[in-house]
């Protein structure tokens, strides 16, 4: 493009490094060091977006993080599309591709703009009021349509290929904000030797020194001073300087979250760099130097492209060397816009007029502007802006009414004053106080060890700011434990001072008008909307906010909150502090999910636990299922088998010959010590004192409320040593439960608890041939029924390695569980597998394990129980020591409701049609003909096809179930009612003869 708004001799960028980029498909050229915003403005582009609700054309309001309008999509490739990037923050790189959002078919001609014409219908609360009826239409019609029409940007539709890292850091003094105040505070703190972190959201430090042409410190231009001061800080070992790092959240005990944008500004980031880095910093002291944000003037059509904050125009000129217009108007209610007019005028641009709402302000900047020959109009208001895709004029009128005059302009610079950025202070739970004289909320009562300095503290003037910040930095370091050091405070030679301004709507956008004078640009909230919210009964500012959505967009009202509050207060006829400020919440600016998630995704989302035998199962083609964090072999299909065929074969093989099952995931805890038996007595319902070493017992653990918490077989290895097993999922909480009681209720017991789940691999060998398979490999254990009866345990060797050999069964067959040190798990399994093959044994998975145990009516805690089942409910009264006077749950179990009649009890169910397999979780009723909602008397907890029984089997919790044996109940399902008979829980080998078979 030939037209350029780059001003020769202005700005700090070196013309040498050019960067090509595209916006909406058109190629442009910028300079390295530009933001996307400054590069577009240099090419004369102001129109960059359409607004959220009315689809009005929008340009740049600001030159920083507070930008509400200029949101674009940055596209690196098909997977790297980032929506809602603020063009004022995005650094330019060669090849950058950006697109405007929220418009169709094009930015200049947007069909959606009809909603601007229809806007009288789209006032505050429109959605709440209009889409009420019919109710069903909300879900099917209104919401999808509104969602498609609204929304900011388009979410990426592919997984994020970038990676994100995270760091924890500690420091004595954390300085947030790298403007003059932050740098001065960091210098003072760093000179004491304190560990300091200085962070700023911008790529370059300096804050408002970026545009304040009048600032001189230590004999240098303010911005140049900032660079040399930061270079000095960077060179110090005790200082970490973080540019491009936004402090987004201030949490308890001086814990601050920052996101550092590591590579979004690079042309070719490379795979070794993360896109962003999350810093979680714990600081002894925090210095808040977050500055202030300029407010816009609220007047009719103040959103036309080309209308922007005065400080933004200064930043574009003084830093980037870009003129935002050639014939600009200025509209202000304070002094700081004069400085913008002066800078632009000095750069050779025409300043058509300054319109100042104030009646007769005086001061050096006003004198200077006048001396430069700029027309100044006091006591006047801009009541209207002309133009559509770009502002073309401003219409001026005396503020108390009178003749109008229209002045042609191509940009309007505005300033209503400055709002201290108290976001982080407020997040720290500090209370803000309203200064009635300056009409600002400033930090009042502190809740944490932090201090605000400079503009965010309401301190005006560079000199006062540096004095305050330097003293605060030194004090913070001292309070954090550092010794004071000899130091030199930066000397301010010249500085600018910001004065007051106005809040709320300017004349011409007053109560009697319906003009579109925007308060919140991003959510299209006008002054009229806020007044309407009050008229419709919203009294609290929190209600006004939600009704109008003022301050609720991605910019979180950085420019709009104070105006909105002032208009609401004015309409309510109350002083501002009585109406109050809405709550500041994290994040300060939007934070990517990626930076929060960090590396914790995909395989690193959650640990995956695999048993020692996992590789063998994998080689055999096992299908795995997730059980908690464990991968467990679910079934071992042979060629052509589906899950049903495989499970049928496995179940039949176990009962015919034998099967090998990997039970390593069982929780295992060793309870050791002179008082081990006493401890077991207290933690389990069963009696343990008299259990002989070498014998096992099925134990039930309750919570104090009397409900079943866990179960498992416990072997007594020695008088003072128990090998406890728990459910796979229950292991950690059982360990915690045991430790809790041992440490806090029974600390007098001399017992040690050790988790041994990961130490022992467990191979279950179940079936009539089980002993024959194991015996040849075992040394030092007599495996005869007499020497090793059911429910006993011996220590010896298998395949030459130590074993704890349990004779126990979860299948109802003769069974063993071979425990070996986990390093030998796979080798011992392979040896047993070779032996097993001689007898026709199979490997079986968790599905067959479930079927086999259900055939025997063995419960699974967590499947057949749900935290409301007592031992009696589960038919396990026999496992409760009747003579015991204490155990956890003994009192809870005796509560009236837990011993009442009619409780749900665990029973078996047989479907009338043996081929029908019930659905687990299905509800059971007495009478299927009753009206809906039916009275439910129970539900199915376990249900399987049992090839061994030749029919389906199920377990269920049924009210008064044990008294209803033989009765017919019904299970209503979507495709018909299933008739069932209540039975006992044992479906196979009722007498239990096969345990020794």
């Amino acid at each position: 493009m030939s037209v350029t708004f780059r001003i020769a001799g202005a700005g700090r960028l070196k013309q040498a490094k050019m960067a090509g980029f595209s916006f909406d498909g058109r190629p442009y050229t910028g300079i390295e060091g530009d933001t996307l915003a400054s590069a577009l403005l240099a090419n004369g582009v102001h129109l960059v977006g359409r607004s959220f609700k009315y689809h009005r054309p929008r340009g740049f309001l600001s030159a920083g993080a507070e930008e509400p309008n200029a949101l674009v999509e940055i596209k690196r490739d098909s997977a790297r599309k980032t929506p809602n990037v603020r063009a004022t923050v995005q650094e330019l790189y060669d090849g950058l591709t950006a697109q405007s959002q929220n418009r169709w078919p094009s930015l200049a001609f947007d069909i959606g703009a009809v909603s601007n014409i229809a806007s009288p219908m789209l006032s505050a609360g429109f959605y709440y009021k209009t889409f009420m009826w019919p109710k069903a239409a909300w879900k099917n019609l209104y919401e999808p349509k509104i969602r498609a029409a609204a929304g900011l940007g388009v979410a990426p539709d592919q997984p994020d290929p970038d990676h994100y890292s995270a760091r924890f850091a500690h420091c004595d003094v954390l300085v947030l904000g790298g403007g003059a105040a932050g740098i001065a505070a960091a210098l003072a703190a760093a000179e004491t030797g304190a560990r300091v972190i200085l962070a700023d959201e911008q790529a370059e430090f300096g804050g408002s020194l970026r545009f304040e042409s009048g600032a001189r410190i230590d004999g240098q231009d303010g911005f140049a001073w900032a660079q040399s001061a930061v270079a000095k800080l960077k060179a110090m070992d005790n200082v970490r300087v973080l540019p491009r790092a936004t402090a987004f959240g201030y949490y308890a005990q001086n814990f601050v979250g920052l996101v550092e944008r590591v590579s979004d500004h690079l042309q070719n980031p490379g795979r070794d760099l993360p896109r962003e880095r999350l810093w979680q910093v714990r600081a002894r002291r925090v210095v808040l130097a977050t500055g202030a944000i300029e407010r816009h003037m609220v007047f009719a059509d103040n959103d036309r492209p080309g209308i922007m904050l005065a400080s933004a125009a200064r930043a574009y000129l003084n830093h980037y060397g870009v003129a935002v217009g050639r014939n600009v108007g200025v509209y202000t209610a304070n002094d700081s816009a004069y400085a913008a007019a002066i800078d632009l005028k000095k750069a050779g641009l025409n300043v058509a007029a300054i319109v100042d709402l104030r009646d007769n302000p005086t001061g050096p900047v006003i004198d200077e502007a006048r001396a430069l020959g700029i027309e100044i109009n006091f006591g006047r208001a801009v009541i209207r802006a002309g133009g559509k895709l770009r502002v073309s004029s401003m219409t001026v009128q005396p503020k108390n009414g009178g003749g109008e005059r229209t002045i042609p302009v191509d940009a309007i610079l505005m300033s209503a004053g400055w709002t201290p950025s108290v976001h982080l202070f407020s997040q720290s739970r500090g209370k803000v106080a309203f200064n009635d004289e300056t009409k600002r909320f400033v930090p009042g009562t502190y809740a944490q060890d932090c201090i605000s300095v400079g503009a965010c503290n309401g301190t005006d003037g560079l000199s006062a700011t540096i004095d305050e910040a330097y003293a605060a930095g030194a004090k913070a370091a001292k309070d954090a434990g550092s010794k004071p050091a000899k130091s030199t405070k930066p000397k301010v030679d010249a500085g600018e001072s910001w004065s007051r301004g106005m809040l709320g709507a300017a004349p011409g956008a007053g109560a009697d008008t319906t003009v579109k004078a925007f308060v919140d640009f991003q959510n299209d909230v006008t002054a009229k909307d806020i007044r309407q919210a009050v008229h419709e009964g919203m009294r609290s500012i929190e209600h006004v906010k939600r009704f109008t959505t003022n301050g609720m967009a991605t910019d979180q009202g950085k420019t709009s909150n104070m105006h909105g509050l002032a208009i609401a207060a004015d309409t309510l006829g109350k002083p501002i502090p009585q109406v109050g400020l809405t709550t500041f919440r994290a994040p300060y600016t939007p934070v990517t999910f990626g930076s929060i998630v960090g590396h914790a995704r995909g395989p690193l989302f959650d640990p995956t636990r695999k048993t020692a035998i996992h590789p063998w199962a994998e080689r055999q083609g096992a299908v795995f299922e997730d059980v908690g964090q464990w991968k467990r072999a679910w079934y071992f299909p042979k060629a052509g088998e589906d899950i049903h065929a495989a499970v049928d074969r496995e179940c039949v093989t176990v009962r015919k010959t034998a099967g090998l099952f990997d039970a390593s995931t069982l929780g295992k805890i060793e309870v050791v010590g002179p008082d081990a038996a006493k401890f077991m007595e207290l933690l389990y319902t069963n009696p343990w004192e008299k259990l002989e070493p070498g014998r096992c017992r099925y134990g039930i653990m309750l919570r104090e409320d009397g409900f079943i918490y866990d179960d498992g077989v416990v072997g007594r290895l020695a008088p003072d040593r128990f090998h406890v097993t728990t459910t796979t999922g229950g292991a950690p909480r059982v360990m915690n439960h045991m430790e809790d009681y041992l440490q806090t209720e029974f600390p007098h017991l001399n017992v040690w608890l050790t988790s041994i789940t990961e130490q022992w691999a467990v191979i279950a060998v179940q079936g009539p041939s089980a002993r024959k398979i194991i015996e040849p490999l075992v040394e030092g254990i007599d495996m005869s029924d007499e020497a090793l009866p059911h429910m006993s345990v011996r220590e010896g060797k298998i395949c030459g390695v130590p074993t704890r050999l349990f004779r126990m069964s979860f299948s109802g067959e003769r069974g063993f569980e071979v425990n070996v040190p986990v390093d030998y798990g796979e080798a011992v399994w392979e040896a047993l597998w070779v032996e097993g093959q001689k007898h026709g044994a199979c490997a079986y998975g968790t599905e067959s394990m479930h079927v086999l145990r259900a055939e025997k009516g063995y419960i699974i805690v967590g499947q057949d129980t749900d935290g409301t089942v007592t031992p009696n409910d589960a038919g396990l009264d026999w496992a409760v020591g009747k003579k015991k006077t204490d155990f956890v749950g003994i009192r809870g179990m005796a509560r009236p409701d837990l011993v009442a009649k009619g409780r749900k009890q665990l029973v078996g169910l047989k479907t009338r049609d043996p081929k029908v397999v019930l659905e687990e979780g299905a509800q059971i009723v007495d009478d299927p003909k009753q009206a809906i909602p039916m009275k439910m008397v129970g539900h199915v907890t376990s249900s399987y096809w049992s090839e061994n029984c030749g029919r389906s089997i199920a377990l269920a919790l049924v009210a008064g179930g044990r008294d209803r044996m033989g009765e017919t109940l019904y299970v209503p399902m979507p495709n018909g009612v299933v008739e069932v008979e209540v039975t006992g829980m044992v479906f196979f080998d009722e007498k239990g003869e096969r345990l020794n078979g």
């Binding site: 005990q253 814990f255 809740a447 915690n736 809790d740 440490q743 600390p747 006077t885 809870g892 509560r895």
Partner: protein, 98 residues
């Protein structure tokens, strides 16, 4: 993230290492089986849930694994002190006057 001082490790550690374990100073009766329904209800179900000072149990799960007691202000989330399990409820709280 809170910083919590473990009275066994004698240092402040990040909240990530700890688990809350409910209200403190609720002792299980040595004769629990003989308790009335009302007493058991008070022991097992009723908790104070105050706005302000709470005495609660924490476990240094990913550290020494010990249970201990803490005094915390539920309004400010500030820990006033921590002490070992079994020690009596502190008579005076540091900084409680604030």
């Amino acid at each position: 993230m809170l910083l919590i001082r473990c009275p066994y490790c004698e240092e402040e550690r990040p909240e990530l290492e700890f688990r809350n374990a409910g209200e403190a100073h609720i002792a299980r009766s040595p004769n629990i089986a003989g308790e009335t329904d009302d007493d058991f209800e008070k022991f097992f179900f009723i908790r104070s849930n105050p706005k302000g000072i709470i005495y609660e149990r924490w476990r240094h799960m990913h550290g020494c694994a010990r249970f201990f007691n803490a005094v915390r202000d539920t309004v400010s989330d500030r820990f006033l002190m921590t002490y070992k399990a079994g020690e009596p409820k502190p008579a005076k709280l540091p900084g409680a006057a604030k």
